[in-house]
Symmetry: C2
Subunit: 102 residues, 2 copies
DNA sequence: TGACATAGTACCCAAAAAGTAACTGTAAGG
DNA sequence: CCTTACAGTTACTTTTTGGGTACTATGTCA
């Protein structure tokens, strides 16, 4: 919107849960309910919304298996993987921050 | 809250404008109205709130000069400066993202 | 026959975040 | 004497966000 790179990043990961979701998926593919349990107390509604947005930004890939009960897997796209270094630098700083405020 | 380093980082910079403010201050000290003009359309209220929170997290320093009209300067604290690399990696990724979606 | 599991959607309401407008004090400049 | 500048604060309204509940489909298991 503004052309500022930092704001561009924020617009993609601005959602309350997006980075947490991406951070989980960085460790590997997960199913919907798996994500929900991992990130609790996120609600199904919020999880769905955030996943849809991440998908439309091409950061994650949604794979539906036509089975019953339904099976849907989420994973980072190749593009989404380019975001891992950013999250790593966040994690590193967060670690220091946690120690500092311990 | 959760002990997750990424979430810890998010809790500090979660405000809508915080990173933008920090990113500005990374280039140097700024006065209140200077910041407001630079970050428009942020409102005075929001700017005040975000600055106060950043200050109480010790990321920025507020310096008041007892003159009329008032003069208040904001700058990154030493601790705040440790966040610059994180913002740089965000900016880098944002640049690629902007090009990709150009 | 009936419950269970998965991955959602639809709708309504409450809470939180953000915006708006008016007000503060004081000195300088016209 | 009236206006402008700065750096806010306060009260009120609006918008956005998030939560709760109920509902969907259908194959398997008991």
């Amino acid at each position: 919107m503004s052309g500022c790179p930092v704001e561009a990043t924020l617009s993609v990961i601005g959602g309350k849960w997006k980075i947490v979701i991406l951070w989980r998926l960085a460790r590997g593919t997960m199913r919907f309910n798996e994500l929900q349990r991992a990130i609790s107390p996120i609600t199904r509604k919020m999880l769905t919304e955030q996943l849809r947005e991440l998908e439309s930004d091409n950061l994650i890939v949604r794979t539906v298996y036509p089975v019953v009960p339904p099976k849907v897997e989420y994973s980072l796209s190749e593009y989404g993987k380019t975001f891992i270094p950013v999250m790593q630098s966040m994690a590193q700083w967060g670690l220091v921050h946690l120690e500092r405020n311990a």
